[in-house]
Amino acid sequence: MTTRFRLATPLQIIALTVAWLAALLLIDYTKNPHLWTKAPPPRPASAPLSLYVNHLCCTGCLADVRAGLQTLPWVEPEKVRARQGKVLTVKEAEALGPAGEYGGWVDVQVKDPGSIDFVAVDRALRDKGLVASRMEFGGPPHFRLEAQVAHMCCGICEDAARRTTELTRALAAARLLWVDSVTADHAKHLIIVHARYLEPGKTVDVSELLAALDQVGLAPYSLRVQTGAEQAVPAESPATM
């Protein structure tokens, strides 16, 4: 039997295209409601540190965030602010019922960005049962992050540290793009992460680095910002990545 070949008509093409487009938008609308809501208020330029706290539904949560960060000497609790502005009270939140998204941004004012210790921030929040999935740092155009690690016994540890982004490639897909290079010094138990030039108003997400360091098994006990002149790179650990 000979097959009778039929071509698609313009109407069929338009109908199928529009139907498919509608289906994709419908999936997007129903599954990603947070992407269809109004854009959140912008990050205040004066705050060098912004935390995305995964659970920030009411004033009770914000109070715990403040209480946690209060333990850090360089944080002034009254300058820890929820970016969304008004936060629901506990009663209001209970009355509201289920929502699609419970997280929120918290902006932290700090006098000296060099005093920020990201590991301490993470610990302080976890001690209160809260988690910051993003730690955005911005302000200085040129800076590096120095991670002090307890364990770095040999040259292999040093090599692993230097290759942090390479060894965590799967984790680092589309992340850690702000990292320029990593150097390590096993004698000083130090990992230095050099950030690329940061444009005014832009930030980097330091939590990506903490996750990558966890992944390579070199969890730091402190991670601080350094903006001053760099020390000479140890001769045995070239800064390439």
């Binding site: 039929r6 071509l7 295209t17 487009l21 509608a22 938008l25 599954k31 793009l177 690329r196």
Partner: protein
């Protein structure tokens, strides 16, 4: 017609609902190592046309190269006569055949060779099937269509399964018109993430053109050749895609320079070097961005207009293959798709120009008033080249790009 109007209205309404979002991320490192001198790309009233002299220099150089290439194209019949009666007439045997085939290849005439025909068939198969590989690659990388567009975790599973389904239809060549509509619909959906994203994905639409013009019973056919209409549409869409992407490279200069900062090897391109020749060495990165974008504009325009299509396809095949295998590596494996498309166009024996009117007029004038024929060729070539390059380059200097985020 009322139905079509209603359908279009629904589509337009859905698009209007979509809000732009800044989720576009390139899948290779692209962050600037140091800032560009942004004033270079903007207005400078002290100079001619209000453009930086280096930018204008590149624009004029590209216009000159384009005009020259177009003029040679319009004179190709005359050159062909020289080759045929002065060169080929003196040769004999295999050498004569090889030179003749080479001349046919370079002037977009049919190449009557068995292996070339077989290459064309294979190229069409690669072109029609390679989108499936790209879709599967994207699905396994939690992205949509290209790894540039990461999916939201909350909806990723749906988009990934849908991509896998579409890939399956493409691999089995089932209901190709439906595949075309799905690709077109997906491309329109990308506007939801901003026009930047959709423009970046424009080359994806190329294959949709072929799918949409295939029969519903496509699974019963061995599609190994493109019809003249399909070849023309593929050439037009592919060329337009590259043309727009070239302009985008100049417009979104930080992203382009950011890629070069991370992969300095891409700065060593002979054609780009030619366009940047004679510019201020202190503005090397800035001039490279413009020259790089203009090289793509030139290639896209030549492809779209049908001037030396095969030659430009070869050039672009070289560039894409080098980017994939040498410069960026595995991260740019989706380039296998444009490589397939370029190969299919290059190996086609249905190549024509969109400006054959000029050729016909020049041919008609040639016998009676040859000087006017040459004048027509020269004026047409210059006019086409100037219109293709300078107005948009000049227009870009008015744009505000302060909001662009590489």
């Amino acid at each position: 017609m009322r139905r079509v109007g209603a359908t279009l209205a629904i589509g337009a309404s859905l698009l209007a609902l979509a809000s732009p979002a800044a989720a576009h991320e390139r899948f290779i490192k692209h962050q600037l190592k140091k800032p560009l001198q942004n004033w270079f790309f903007g207005r400078d009233p002290r100079h001619l046309l209000g453009m930086d002299p280096n930018m204008l220099h590149i624009g004029l150089l590209v216009t000159g190269v384009l005009a020259g290439a177009i003029a040679v194209w319009f004179l190709r019949e005359r050159l062909d006569e020289v080759v045929r009666y002065r060169l080929l007439a003196r040769l004999r045997g295999a050498l004569q055949r090889h030179v003749h085939n080479l001349a046919c290849f370079l002037t977009d005439k049919p190449v009557r060779l068995g292996w070339f025909y077989a290459l064309g068939e294979w190229a069409v198969i690669v072109f029609l099937r390679s989108p499936a590989l790209v879709l599967m690659y994207s699905a396994t990388n939690d992205s949509l269509v290209m790894p540039s567009y990461p999916l939201e975790p909350s909806s990723a599973v749906y988009f990934k399964f849908l991509q896998a389904l579409l890939a399956l239809l493409i691999l089995t060549q089932t209901l190709l018109p439906l595949c075309g509509a799905l690709i077109l619909g997906t491309w329109l959906y990308l506007f939801r993430w901003g026009w930047f994203v959709a423009v970046d994905a424009l080359p994806v639409v190329t294959v949709a053109v072929v799918y949409l013009s295939a029969p519903w019973q496509s699974h019963k056919l061995a599609i190994t050749r493109l019809t003249p209409l399909q070849t023309r549409l593929v050439r037009l869409v592919l060329g337009f895609g590259f043309l727009v992407l070239g302009w985008m490279k100049v417009y979104n200069h930080d992203l382009t320079a950011g890629v070069a900062d991370n992969y300095p090897g891409v700065m060593n391109d002979p054609l780009v070097g030619l366009f940047a020749f004679g510019t201020d060495a202190a503005l090397r990165r800035e001039t490279w961005v413009v020259a790089f974008g203009m090289a793509e504009v030139l290639s896209g325009f030549m492809l779209m207009a049908g001037f030396f299509t095969r030659f430009w396809c070869m050039m672009m095949l070289w560039v894409f293959t080098k980017l994939m295998l040498v410069d960026f590596g595995w991260a740019e494996i989706p380039h296998i798709y444009p490589i397939g498309a370029l190969l299919a166009v290059m190996a086609s024996n249905h190549l024509k120009t969109e400006f054959d009117l000029v050729e016909r007029k020049a041919r008609a004038l040639r016998r009676d008033v040859p000087l006017r024929s040459y004048a027509l060729v020269a004026v047409s070539a210059i006019l086409i080249a100037v219109i293709a390059v300078l107005p948009i380059l000049w227009g870009l200097s008015f744009t505000d790009r302060s909001l662009l985020n590489p």
